[in-house]
Symmetry: C2
Subunit: 198 residues, 2 copies
DNA sequence: TTCATTTCCAACGGTACGGTTGGAATATTA
DNA sequence: TAATATTCCAACCGTACCGTTGGAAATGAA
């Protein structure tokens, strides 16, 4: 059996994602990650340095995946709706991401890659602002607020799934309700962004 | 100096709120709560039983305060906007609440007082549904989704304050930006709820 | 095949934490 | 005032956890 160093590293990273999402940094033990990966915990220290470094790597990796999976191409109402829908889809397919970001936000300290993420979001804001100048999107709302609100509409479902269940009565595996929520998110995004009728 | 049992209990509860909001259940030590309260930790066990019971009490107390502070009286668009605005205000004035609810949601186990909270939210859904039947609110959206979305628009700012800062560039103590956000939230709520123009 | 390197194994060491304890001090009650 | 109850104090106990360690086993290279 040849040494599969990269395989072992990947197993540890994957296990860490599951454990960190479930329990956060403080609640996750190095032993649990190693056990889930079927690896001795000493390997974790050898490959990643320490628990904190592994946390940061997992977070950075998940953020990269999100950024490359959800894009905003145009500035039409359909584009806005689809951005919200795609964000919803990604969060629904990756519930561990929302949990990770929540744990992150609740911890002390600056966000991971704050500069890169800020730039990424500001680009979206500029994109929206251009759509407003073109009269495609409503000019009456701050574009930054609009970006923020679209993410809220899309991500909140996975951020507080227990609240969603209390309000709608639907459990986490109800695919029809998930589809209905997506349609709602897309429609809500369009309403928010469309030029004012007042 | 007479024994101030109730005062000591209150100091412990208040200290627990601060510590639990900051660090969550797992990250909070009983010693830190007692130290913040200026009380020996043995008193905490005497008054509240254990750490878990104190957590549950703090959570229940904060939920009661929220429920009695934010109400939805009518079903007009102004009422909807004001509900969203009042929710925003409460969260802005009590950042520890959002943090507590997040920590709660991330923990294993059912939400505190799930039955009571479910009833409370379902009443709001019914309220919205009545507004839809009266033609005051848009009939094209699921009222449960609408309730959920309004809470999202109002509460997301305090749920992910670091994201808000990355997107808007405004720090946590910018009162003018806070007022702008509230106006946005009220306007967004009205747009979502108003009868369809399509 | 031998030597060097990496991985595996499981125990270790030091620190932290929840909950408990016994005795002293203080407040309350009769 | 004496007896009783409560609070204060700080140490204790058992468990958990991060990061490290030394030696054995396995792999890779010459």
């Amino acid at each position: 059996m040849a040494w599969d160093t990269e395989g072992t590293r990947r197993r540890l990273r994957d296990a860490a994602l599951v454990e960190f999402a479930a329990r956060g940094f403080d609640g996750t033990t190095v032993g649990a990650v190693a056990s889930r990966a079927g690896v001795n915990k000493e390997r974790l220290y050898s490959y990643f340095g320490d628990k904190k470094a592994l946390w940061e790597l997992v977070l950075a990796t998940e953020l990269e995946r999100l950024a490359s999976a959800v894009s905003l191409s145009g500035v039409g109402l359909d584009d806005i709706g689809e951005f919200a829908g795609a964000t919803f889809d990604y969060h629904a397919a990756h519930p561990e991401l929302g949990r990770l970001l929540q744990w992150e936000g609740l911890q002390d300290g600056p966000p991971a890659d704050a500069i890169g993420r800020t730039r990424h979001y500001r680009e979206k804001v500029a994109h929206f602002a251009a759509g407003q100048r073109d009269g495609v999107l409503d000019r009456g709302l701050d574009p930054a607020h609009l970006v923020f609100a679209l993410i809220a509409l899309a991500a909140w479902w996975q951020t507080v799934p227990q609240l969603a269940e209390m309000i709608t009565g639907a459990g986490p595996n109800d695919q029809q309700e998930c589809a209905r929520r997506r349609r709602f998110v897309v429609e809500a995004a369009r309403r928010l962004a469309s030029p004012s009728r007042i």
